[in-house]
């Protein structure tokens, strides 16, 4: 039962992060939202494994835990390369 509540909470937080990603206003807020979303995905997959009684699928959560920050580094590299950060739409 607790696991179901946990899943529901994680889904709710996902929704909140999604809202932040839509609202912006700056690009940094969106990156933050994507990052929070990634962490919530790790939790979602882990909890779901226990909920369905087959917790041997944690490998998928592991990928997200390991590779979560590649995207952020990519955005950072984009900024450093094109110097467009000042033209943010805030």
């Amino acid at each position: 039962m607790m696991l179901v509540i946990a899943i529901a909470t994680i889904l709710l937080v996902m929704l909140l992060a999604l809202l932040r990603a839509f609202l912006g206003p700056s690009l940094y807020d969106r990156i933050l939202a994507v990052n929070v979303f990634g962490t919530k995905t790790v939790l979602f997959i882990a909890v779901l494994g226990f909920l369905t009684g087959r917790p041997d699928f944690l490998d998928i959560a592991m990928i997200y835990a390991l590779l979560n920050f590649i995207g952020v580094i990519g955005v950072l590299r984009f900024f450093e390369y094109s110097g467009q950060e000042s033209k943010d739409e805030h």
């Binding site: 946990a6 909470t9 994680i10 835990a65």
Partner: protein
């Protein structure tokens, strides 16, 4: 066994609470830097507590070791992302809007 299960329930519910509070913070906080603070809470405390809660439910197997590894990697990468993001924002001289800030301060003072 029972005490472990109760502990795991406690950890899970605390973790859910942290996540929820952090989620509300991500929406309600007025500027980017304070939202970042909320996201930090959800990434470290929320994720950590839920993962520890799951660890207490699993027996001695590969599942447990995978959970520990996931926790370690999360603890390693999340702060790195927060640091990188904040650093980039500061270097880009991104300023939180002053108007929102003053309103927030007024609210806080009123309380």
């Amino acid at each position: 066994m029972d005490i472990l299960y109760l502990l795991s329930l406690l950890c899970l519910s605390l973790g859910c609470l942290c996540n929820l509070i952090a989620g509300i913070g991500i929406i309600r906080f007025p500027d980017f830097y304070s939202r970042m603070h909320a996201a930090g809470i959800s990434d470290v405390t929320g994720a950590g507590l839920i993962l520890i809660g799951l660890m207490l439910q699993s027996d001695w197997s590969t599942t447990l070791s995978k959970l520990i590894l996931i926790l370690l990697f999360t603890l390693l990468t999340s702060p790195t992302i927060s640091y990188t993001l904040a650093n980039t924002a500061v270097k880009a001289k991104y300023k939180a809007k002053a108007k929102d800030n003053s309103k927030w301060q007024k609210d806080m003072e009123a309380k």
